[in-house]
């Protein structure tokens, strides 16, 4: 018998596609499936794997304590591959095929923006664990990281308190740094601060001698740094070799946490300030337990960081909402979530009903020679999330069109 090539090809393709389409067996009544969608490959893997690990830890702990509504949580892990369209595809797969109750995932704003239409289309829930640029509040996303008024504005308040009047802005070229800098410029204009320069480099850029020269020659009181990823390694190294010191010209970073400090090299960055809501050194009973459990599961040399803690919290907050709702139904969980308050490693966290962001305590820390971060300032109490900066008169116009 002669079988021609195209027929073989087509049958093969269809057979392959059909095997893939065999729907997963529905979760048995004693289990609840939840999706974990982070980049496990590509440039973002180094950061996102740690968040995935923290979320797995939370799931394990919840299961040990009896699960949710008497059912065990079963994680379905997918790889976003540092590629935004892949995030959208895998989110669809988790929702439609695995029929997960909720998804914890994302890191970059681009991955969130890519997943947003998927979650809105299928009316499913996403818990997003990283600080971001604000100006968003999807009814199907819970934001457990900081919005701008819980990180960037406290960072600016801190610099102002320290008497820093002239700032230089350095950032990676994408939506978070550009939006952050828009806010910083509006803040500076309202607070008598001066912006000496604003520079962007592509993500992954590593040649900073020109930019460092520009910064050093401008002689700012401080630098506001929104560079992301590997670029920070080159930037801080070259800044140090240009003779800039943390005493004379502190560089305040909003994307460098404990995990990144190791990669940059403590020698290059010790003494510089960072702005977050949580540090490994944050003194709360819940944090002591979190750090201990994380090290026990993943190794004594591992550090914990703000996005990891926010991912870890997300699982607990969702579980609490499910318990309160008595069901994993999305509408019921959304209705039960507002007002839920939990003592987390970062302190008290409350879900805001209006925008599904969290009340969080802002913290400024200084990077120590041992690679950890020591808190030098905090907001004293959890700050109400304000993603559109409606409570700041100087920010009017930033959220135009909303």
């Amino acid at each position: 018998m002669r079988i021609s090539r195209p027929i073989v090809a087509a049958l093969l393709a269809l057979a392959l596609a059909a095997c893939g389409s065999g729907a997963e067996p529905a979760a048995s009544s004693s289990e609840i499936k939840v999706g974990l969608l982070h980049s496990l490959s590509g440039t973002m893997a180094i950061s996102e794997v740690t968040v995935r690990d923290a979320e797995l830890l939370a799931i394990e702990e919840i299961n040990k304590a009896g699960g949710v509504l008497g059912k065990k949580l079963v994680p379905v892990v997918e790889d976003g591959a540092s590629d935004w369209p892949t995030f959208a595809e895998k989110a669809t797969k988790l929702i439609r095929q695995d029929k997960v109750a909720t998804v914890f995932g994302g890191w970059t704003s681009a991955s969130r923006k890519a997943m947003l239409p998927v979650f809105e289309r299928y009316k499913a829930l996403l818990w997003y664990p990283v600080q971001y640029e604000g100006l968003e509040s999807s009814p199907y996303i819970f934001y457990t990281g900081a919005t701008t008024n819980q990180q960037i504005i406290p960072g600016l308040d801190y610099l102002k308190e320290q008497g820093k009047k002239k700032l230089f802005l350095v950032g990676s070229d994408y939506v978070f740094p550009r939006t952050a800098n828009k806010i910083i410029k509006a803040y500076a204009a309202a607070n008598g601060m001066e912006i000496l320069g604003e520079e962007y480099t592509p993500l992954g850029h590593t040649e900073y001698s020109t930019l460092v020269n520009k910064v050093v020659q401008a002689k700012p009181d401080a630098v506001f740094n929104t560079l992301n990823g590997d670029s920070n390694v080159a930037f801080f190294k070259q800044l140090k070799s240009a003779g800039a010191t943390a005493e004379a010209m502190p560089v305040l970073s909003v994307s460098i946490a404990e995990e990144e400090v190791t990669g940059i090299g403590v020698d290059n960055i010790a003494g510089h300030p960072v702005a977050w809501n949580y540090y490994q050194t944050t003194e709360t009973p819940a944090n002591e337990a979190f750090v201990k459990a994380y090290k026990a599961k993943y190794g004594a040399n591992k550090v914990t960081s703000d996005p990891m803690e926010a991912g870890y919290n997300a699982v607990y907050l969702w579980a609490e909402a499910v318990k309160k709702a008595g069901s994993t139904d999305v509408a019921a969980v959304k209705k039960a979530a507002p007002g839920i308050a939990l003592e987390r490693p970062e302190g008290l966290v409350i879900i805001d009903g209006e925008n599904q962001h969290m009340y969080k305590t802002a913290r400024i820390g200084i990077i120590q020679p041992d690679g950890l971060i020591k808190q030098v300032w905090d907001s004293g109490k959890p700050i109400k999330p304000d993603p559109y900066l409606k409570g700041y008169p100087w920010a009017a116009g930033l959220a135009a069109g909303q």
């Binding site: 002669r2 079988i3 021609s4 090539r5 195209p6 027929i7 073989v8 090809a9 087509a10 049958l11 093969l12 393709a13 269809l14 392959l16 596609a17 059909a18 095997c19 893939g20 389409s21 729907a23 496990l40 490959s41 892990v77 997918e78 790889d79 591959a81 590629d83 935004w84 369209p85 892949t86 959208a88 595809e89 895998k90 669809t92 797969k93 439609r96 095929q97 970059t108 704003s109 681009a110 923006k113 890519a114 947003l116 239409p117 998927v118 289309r121 640029e133 100006l135 070229d173 994408y174 939506v175 550009r178 939006t179 828009k182 592509p202 993500l203 135009a400 069109g401 909303q402």
Partner: protein
């Protein structure tokens, strides 16, 4: 005559009738995505397999098509006088002049094909006249893909930067979230691929096709015979660019996003790899390769979220070492073994 068309007809029936009936909407959407890539692969099969032009920058043409379509969708949703969402975040207050004509669907779809064709003609005229070929041509196209990404990322207010464009709601009045719209889109993609496949096969079997192969195998001899190899190559390159552009325009409503990550060096290379795996000397091989590699990526990453990239790489190495002529080459060998 009937026998010649039987294989194609069978595939067409499976693709147009069986697949939409058998596959769940989510899987059908994925198949539509693979078929979009298959259209690009068909173009690569023509340019590289038949014409010997190793083009490592088809992502550029794919991107031009995709961005044209995305611009239309965004403008259509913003309505007259409205701004696309990402322009609002990026602080753009007035619609850039470049965007204005894309409010017309005819212009947008036209540009999705014509834009890539014109760029390929320009590039081909400059490059092939200078007798740039082989590795130099490959490097040039790859550099173009890298440059395109830098350009798109740098112009956030104009292009959406790294995020690209997403969150599309409707296409020509049809709700994109609807499963029936997605099924319709799948049928459109499959039909376009089928028509382009037939047309390309016709082209390859024509006098022009033989000339193209002759240029691939002995460009100087063809020139001495009085033909103009540069023209032959430019036309072929432009045709493959047009196909990539059309694929990009179809991809956007199917997948719902376009971003620089989809058209840089890596995705462009992935498509060439897919064509090699399928078998570059047969057009069916190119199409098959794109579908198989697309499927393998999905299947591996769903089964082994932590290490799927290694499997993807292993598959490529395996096929290339055991079957340098790709899957189609293996099938051909089996067939010959059976008939003798």
């Amino acid at each position: 005559m009937i026998k010649r068309h039987l294989p194609f007809a069978t595939v067409a029936v499976i693709a147009l009738v069986a697949a939409p009936l058998l596959l769940e909407p989510f899987r059908l959407g994925l198949l539509a995505k693979y078929l979009c890539y298959a259209i690009v692969a068909l173009g690569i099969g023509l340019a590289w397999g038949q014409g010997g032009m190793l083009t490592l920058g088809q992502g550029v043409f794919f991107g031009l098509g995709g961005y044209s379509m995305a611009m239309y969708l965004k403008l259509n949703e913003a309505g007259p006088g409205g701004l696309p969402d990402f322009m609002v975040w990026s602080g753009v207050e007035k619609l850039p002049a470049l965007w204005a004509p894309f409010a017309s669907p005819v212009f947008a779809v036209g540009m999705a094909v014509l834009g890539p064709v014109l760029l390929a003609v320009l590039l081909g005229t400059l490059v092939f006249r200078q007798r740039v070929r082989g590795a130099y041509f490959a490097i040039l196209t790859q550099a173009l893909a890298a440059a395109m990404v830098i350009l798109l990322v740098g112009q956030q207010g104009l292009t959406g930067g790294t995020n690209g464009m997403t969150n599309f709601f409707e296409l020509f009045g049809q709700d994109l979230a609807d499963d029936s719209t997605q099924r319709g889109l799948y049928l459109v993609v499959a039909s376009v691929l089928g028509i382009l496949y037939l047309a390309t096969r016709q082209l390859v079997h024509s006098r022009y096709g033989r000339l193209l192969v002759a240029v691939r195998d002995g460009e100087d001899r063809v020139r001495f015979l009085g033909y103009d190899p540069a023209l032959v190559k430019t036309v072929t390159f432009a045709a493959s660019a047009g196909m990539a552009g059309l694929a990009g325009a179809l991809f956007v409503p199917v997948v719902g996003i376009i971003s620089p990550a989809l058209l840089g060096v890596v995705p462009s290379l992935e498509l060439v790899v897919a064509v090699a795996v399928g078998g570059r000397h047969a057009l069916a091989g190119a199409v098959l390769g794109a579908v198989v590699m697309g499927y393998a990526k999905t299947a591996f990453s769903e089964q082994f979220a932590d290490g799927w990239l290694y499997l993807q790489g292993a598959l490529f190495i395996l096929v290339m070492t055991l079957a340098p002529k790709g899957i189609v080459g293996v099938v051909g060998r089996l067939r010959r073994a059976r008939t003798t």
